[in-house]
Amino acid sequence: MKLFDFFRRKKNIPEGLWTKCPSCKELLYTPDLKDNFWVCPECGYHFRIDAKTRVDITLDPENRKPLFGEIKPTDPLMFEDLKPYTKRLEEAKNKSKVDEAILFYKGEIYKRLVVVGVMDFNFIGGSMGSVVGERFFRACRYCAQKELPLIVFTASGGARMQESILSLMQMAKTSLAVGFLREKGIPYITVLTDPTMGGVSASFAFLGDIIVAEPGARIGFAGARVIEQTIKQKLPKGFQTAEFLLEKGLIDNVIHRKDLKNFLKDMVDMLFYKAKEWNLDRLNATP
């Protein structure tokens, strides 16, 4: 969770008509880039996208409904570093246009009803505090109750330091919440996007039944800088990228952003909606 190296590296969606690809340095026409799911047509670099954009490219436009927006952040420890936490929250809200680092929607993927959780890296590095934990917890409980598949897109630097130990406890809370889904045989799919590190990676991100990642996404427990400082070695090229994890056998697949919606449709069908057609006894699986 010493992983907030990402804070200072800004790869947000830039304004303006032309966008430079940070990978191949090609100048790209922004509306084209947008049509291409914010993937560089030249080199396939996947830009980081915000939560709302993610929802737009994942869910069908009709029948979307936000969930658990009533859960709002507060400052339980009256934490103050160079700035008070309350001020950071305010700034994050203004900057990112979302009210916390995770949003949930009930909606449809090609007409299949699902609940989708989307993290937003622009909100204090997508860090997990009490609100992320509670919204995720409620989503699991809701999906278990309503028997709806849950899909979560992760993007996080780790735990939220300003909530200190309470943020650490969210790792326990979110992990146990996954048990509600397992108990009912409800599929839980995680899509790891750039970056997925620390406390989020080491809790609900890696507890998915199916775990896939976007190309080039940085995924791991410890931040690269921390590892380098600890072992005093240069890290191998491509270390902690989605492709690296795939090679090591840690994730199911790496899926291009334009294919993701289709993939999710298939998975939701195969694990759930179509699986039911076999009419096999639903195992009372231990969580």
């Binding site: 969770m1 010493k2 804070f7 927006g69 009533e70 859960i71 709002k72 952040p73 507060t74 339980p76 420890l77 934490f79 570093d81 160079l82 505090g129 009490s130 609100v131 934990g133 509670e134 809701y142 735990a159 330091m161 909530e163 200190s164 130990i165 309470l166 943020s167 650490l168 406890m169 969210q170 790792m171 326990a172 809370k173 992990s175 146990l176 919440a177 996954v178 048990g179 620390g198 406390g199 080491a202 809790s203 609900f204 890696f206 507890l207 995924i219 791991g220 427990f221 410890a222 931040g223 921390v226 590892i227 600890t230 072992i231 070695q233 890290l235 270390f239 090591k248 840690l250 969580p287």
Partner: protein
Amino acid sequence: MELKKLEKFVDEIKEKIRRLKEQYYAGKTEVESELRKVQKELKTKVKEFFKDLTPWDRVQLARHPKRPHTKDYIERIFNNFQELHGDRFCGDDPSIVAGIGYFYGKPVAVIGHEKGRDTKERMKRNFGMPNPEGYKKANRVMKLAEKFRFPVVTFVDTPGAFPGIEAEEHNQSKAIADSIYTMAYLKVPTVSVIIGEGGSGGALALAVADRVFMLQNSVYSVISPEGCAAILWKDQKAVEKAAEALKLTAQDLLQLGVIDGIIPEPYGAAHIDPLSTARVVKYCLRKTLNELTKRDISSLLEERIQKYSSMGVFEIAPTIEKYD
């Protein structure tokens, strides 16, 4: 007075007490009054020294090289401890010790981070920073206890899970997530004692339990004060401020409802008198296990789930929306 000076003083006085005791047992009963006096002096001096500790002081004590570690507690609390090695797949991680021992005649699974005593052992045990293999071993032993129906006791003492190349290649994240999950749903009573450093996810992976205790001078936080100072204050020298802000002491965590109790350290710090510290820990474990093992396991599990479900502080905005 510095800690080093105090330790020297304590060593001297302890030596004096030892000699007086020898004389006493040899029949020189007239030294009794002096013995009492010296013991009292030790107690007041030490208590005075440890009276007003800042959070940063406690971090120092929690990391003190002489502080008793997991193996010291195992030796002093459990009988016939049989260590079980390896994750059954690719390795044995010496930074986590796991096994089964007798506790008042009944078996208990004991698992804990071990930092090691001397330099050589510290290297071997990777300074108590586990790799994924360590968590997998811990989980395997927890499941053994679940299968054969005996309680699990864990000792937490780690700067954090190891940040290394192989650790990532072998999926540190998944190992920790699985360990948290296993502990959340383990169908036997569980007790965790944070004996030194509770460093982030690497600590939590062994600290999801029915009852979590902290020794008086142990610390438990989401990030080290050094890391926090570097990231949030952008200044390595802000460690004391960071330690303060993180609310990492046992007293803070008890108030926040994250832990269930504080175990006092006799003489103000565990390493001043490891033996009596172990005795207090043993007493606490006995009391807790007696209580937990009398309970119905499903109600215990429900209580554990409830406890971790209610962690976190947030606001609920008034809403008329009903989710259907």
